[in-house]
């Protein structure tokens, strides 16, 4: 006997499958609407993770770049402050020395020289400044001080200039000590490294250099001038007022001419400070825009997610209702 019928299991199979599908969809949509991020990243980017990987890499390195930029900023500020102290010292000392040099007053001469010696000591201390345990002006040798103590340097200069009695003579000795390659300053005065600090990476494409050392000619010029002035009361010209005055005048003029070089160095550091600040701003702007881009790439509109979630819930409820109804639709129940 042939009959047209539809197997029971077919209906049950279809309903079961639909229910399972709806439930998995429900779980995915629930997580999407609560986190706001798609639950299937691979599907959202169609398996191509290049853009997402690049984005995440940039975000991670931006953190490190910001640390680097902050540290460069601190170092630059320290440098600028130290150079400021140096500048103030020679701006204060120069007029005293020039005056003492022209008035030929022994007391004034002595006062100016002692004052210069103290300022020399201050300048050396300023140039030996450390930030976070790193010496700033010592090049890549960040462990120890950049310069020997002012007393040590002056002692050596005294020995070198022991025999001199004229201002010119002492000037030549001081210049040689500071400027000659392999001279006293390079061997025992400057304790840092001739190689400068490397550039800091402050953005993904920018580096900034803070390459001022105590070894630079501009700094040497300042130290020279102050050393010369300090030697007035201690060397062979001590008793000789004329030579002492001449030496004071030379020292004062040297200080004035050193100012220009010092200002140039300060300007370099100032430019670096500005670059660092701009870099920081650029880094935070880049971070914000990358995060927006990422949420656009992976994010799910919460309104859409909620709507889809409700629709799926309604569908699931409909399947439940149909299942319940069909269960009661059996001929067996109607036969007796």
């Amino acid at each position: 006997m042939n009959s047209v019928s539809s197997g029971d299991l077919a209906q049950r199979f279809a309903l079961r499958r639909q229910m399972a599908e709806l439930k998995t969809e429900l779980t995915a949509l629930t997580s999407e609407s609560t986190t706001g991020v798609t639950s299937d990243v691979s599907g959202k980017v169609s398996g191509d993770f290049t853009a997402l990987a690049g984005l995440n890499r940039s975000l991670q390195t931006l953190g490190a770049l910001q640390v680097s930029a902050n540290e460069a900023g601190v170092m630059a500020d320290t440098m600028q402050d130290a150079l400021g102290i140096v500048h103030d010292m020679i701006t204060a000392a120069a007029p005293n020395l020039l005056q003492a040099g022209s008035l030929l007053n022994p007391t004034q001469l002595r006062t100016a020289s002692v004052d210069a010696r103290q300022k020399f000591s201050t300048v050396v201390a300023a140039l030996n400044v450390q930030t976070g345990g790193r010496t700033v002006f010592g090049g890549i040798e960040t462990g120890g001080p950049a310069l020997a103590s002012s007393n040590a340097m002056l002692d050596e200069l005294l020995i070198a200039a022991a025999a001199e009695t004229t201002a010119t003579g002492i000037e030549i000795v001081v210049n040689d000590w500071f400027d000659l390659a392999g001279g006293g300053f390079e061997t025992s005065g400057y304790l840092g490294n001739t190689e400068r600090l490397g550039d800091f990476q402050i953005t993904s494409s920018e580096r900034v250099g803070l390459a001022v050392t105590a070894d630079d000619p501009e700094i040497r010029a300042v130290l020279k001038a102050l050393a010369m002035a300090s030697l007035i009361t201690q060397t062979g010209v001590a008793g000789n007022d004329t030579e002492g005055a001449k030496l004071a005048k030379k020292a004062g003029e040297a200080m004035l001419s050193a100012q220009q070089g010092l200002l140039n160095r300060r300007a370099d550091v100032g430019l670096a400070q500005e670059s660092i600040e701009n870099a920081s701003l650029r880094n935070s702007a880049e971070k914000a825009s990358l995060e927006i881009l990422r949420s656009r790439m992976l994010g799910v509109d919460p309104y859409d997610a909620q709507t889809a979630l409700e629709a799926t819930q309604n569908q699931l409820e409909a399947v439940y209702a149909v299942t319940a109804r069909l269960a009661s639709l059996s001929l067996v129940d109607f036969l007796r």
């Binding site: 006997m1 539809s6 029971d8 299991l9 691979s42 993770f49 976070g132 490397g198």
Partner: protein, 489 residues
């Protein structure tokens, strides 16, 4: 003729009705059995000497649509195969990790770059150098983990081939025995429907592993052939041979003999390619996973590792070493020089190590990261050029020299994301194929199930049977009355 023939007609009718009730009860009892084919009773008019003589029971037929059955088996085989392939790619993608997931390969590479940038800002800080070392170790560990996963999945594929082969052999033996039993019972005139159901179940077990075609033979027997052309059962069952391997390493291949191939009745058969007799199904997919998909993944991972090692083996990355000397990343402690004859880039991912010179735990010192591997003594603390050179080596562009990457220079993190994207794209394609195969298999299964038992129809049938039975009983009663009438004369 006459009254006695009416009696025998009615009795045959009663027999038919009770037999029909038997069939209905069997159907209803098996309403929930998915491996049961609905039975129907075949009746025909009995004729004796050209005259009608009641109803004859021809037999019980199983309502199976052979076309849907074979289509469903093929679809299930395809679904099983696609599931294996898609699962493999999904596992690899998960092992590599998505960018943004902490611990993923992309994350660790970016972490190394970040650690180098921070160390360059303060090269004398031991903690920053330690961070660089840890980040580099993180990259090495992740690459090693991915390589281990690939070989682990290979081992799992090998084990699943072993299981499948055992299943097929077992099922073929059972089908052979059932064939014999069906012929015996058929010859004795008994109903073989239950045995045929069992045989269909056994064939279904084989069909998702190796897609096959069923052919009818004489006396109710069947023969089985794979769609690729191998004979599985024709009279006598074939025996599949395979020897699983306990642990698989990256150098083992079927070609080298370290991994077993497949034999049918002792003769080796191809397990891949156009003419393989096991095409379609989970057996071929498992071989594909073991012998080509995982090998390709390992090869690409090795190419990625080779790029990493070679980037740091240059004097541009480290001025204190020569080109080709051992760099920051080593091949089991030494430099990597490619030897095409040995193929020594296979397994480089498993052999990748950090140079012992920079690792205090292996007797090295952190300052080598800053001052260079060839530096004899520690240099000034503020020297950052070495670290910046390492960073440039990592982020500089380079053309990959091996693997399936398209030519074109890219950074190392770009190469890693290309590796992931290749797997990801393949994974998406495989998921699409799987979705198609699954929906097809489910549709055909639903169609097959709709030919199954419908209790409503059986109940309707039961009503008719009841009617027929009581009608035939009434006929017997009436004939009996008629005979009595004559006898009482």
């Amino acid at each position: 003729m006459g009254i006695s023939s009416s009696l025998s007609n009615a009795i045959s009718g009663l027999n038919a009705a009770s037999r029909a009730a038997d069939v209905v009860s069997s159907n209803v009892a098996n309403a929930l059995n998915e491996n049961y084919a609905r039975r129907e009773l075949d009746l025909s008019a009995r004729s004796l000497g050209g005259n009608g003589a009641g109803v004859k029971i021809d037999g019980i037929s199983r309502m199976v649509d052979p076309v849907i059955l074979s289509d469903r088996r093929a679809a299930q085989a395809s679904q099983a195969g696609q599931t294996l392939r898609s699962d493999f790619l999904g596992e690899i993608e998960m092992a590599i990790g998505q960018p943004g997931e902490s611990g993923s390969l992309a994350d660790r590479i970016a972490g190394l770059e970040a650690a180098l940038i921070e160390a360059a800002a303060r090269p004398e800080a031991e903690q920053r150098l330690n961070n660089v070392l840890r980040a580099a170790k993180g990259v090495v560990d992740q690459i090693d983990a991915i390589a281990d996963r690939i070989q682990g999945l290979r081992g799992a594929a090998d084990a699943s081939i072993g299981k499948d082969v055992t299943t097929v052999n077992d099922a073929l033996q059972k089908v052979y025995k059932l064939n014999v039993d069906i012929t015996k019972f058929d010859a004795a005139g008994r109903d073989t429907s239950a045995l045929q159901d069992l045989r269909q179940t056994q064939v279904d077990r084989i069909a998702s592993i190796v897609p096959l075609r069923e052919a009818q033979r004489a006396n109710g027997q069947i023969a089985l052939f794979t769609t690729g052309g191998a004979i599985l059962l024709d009279g006598l069952p074939a025996a599949l041979g395979f020897s699983p391997v306990a642990t698989i390493t990256e150098d083992m291949t079927q070609a080298s003999g370290a991994l077993s191939g497949l034999t049918i009745n002792g003769r080796a058969v191809a397990t891949s390619g156009l003419y393989t007799p096991i095409a379609g199904g989970s057996l071929e997919a498992a071989f594909a996973v073991r012998d080509s998909q995982s090998v390709a993944a390992q090869s690409d991972l090795d190419a990625l590792t080779r790029d990493l090692v070679e980037r740091f083996q240059t004097s541009a990355a480290d001025p204190t070493i020569l080109d080709g000397d051992t760099g920051l990343f080593t091949d089991a402690g030494g430099a990597f020089t490619f030897d095409p004859g040995l193929g020594n880039d296979v397994g480089l991912s498993q052999r990748l190590r950090i140079n012992a010179l920079v690792d205090p735990e292996q007797g090295g010192a952190l300052w080598h990261l800053r001052d260079g591997l060839g530096a004899p003594t520690q240099g000034p603390g503020g020297y950052s050029a070495g670290i910046l050179a390492l960073k440039e080596a990592l982020t500089g562009t380079r053309v990959p020299v091996s693997g399936s990457f398209m030519g074109g220079a890219r950074t190392f993190s770009g190469l890693a994301s290309d590796f992931l994207s290749q797997i990801g794209a393949q994974g998406q394609a495989a998921q699409g194929d799987l979705a198609y195969a699954t929906s097809r298999a489910e549709t055909l299964r639903a169609m097959e199930l709709s030919n199954g038992v419908d209790t409503d129809a059986e109940m309707q049938q039961l009503l008719l049977i009841e009617q027929a039975y009581s009608a035939n009983a009434r006929v017997i009663q009436t004939v009996d009355d008629m005979i009595q009438t004559i006898l009482e004369l």
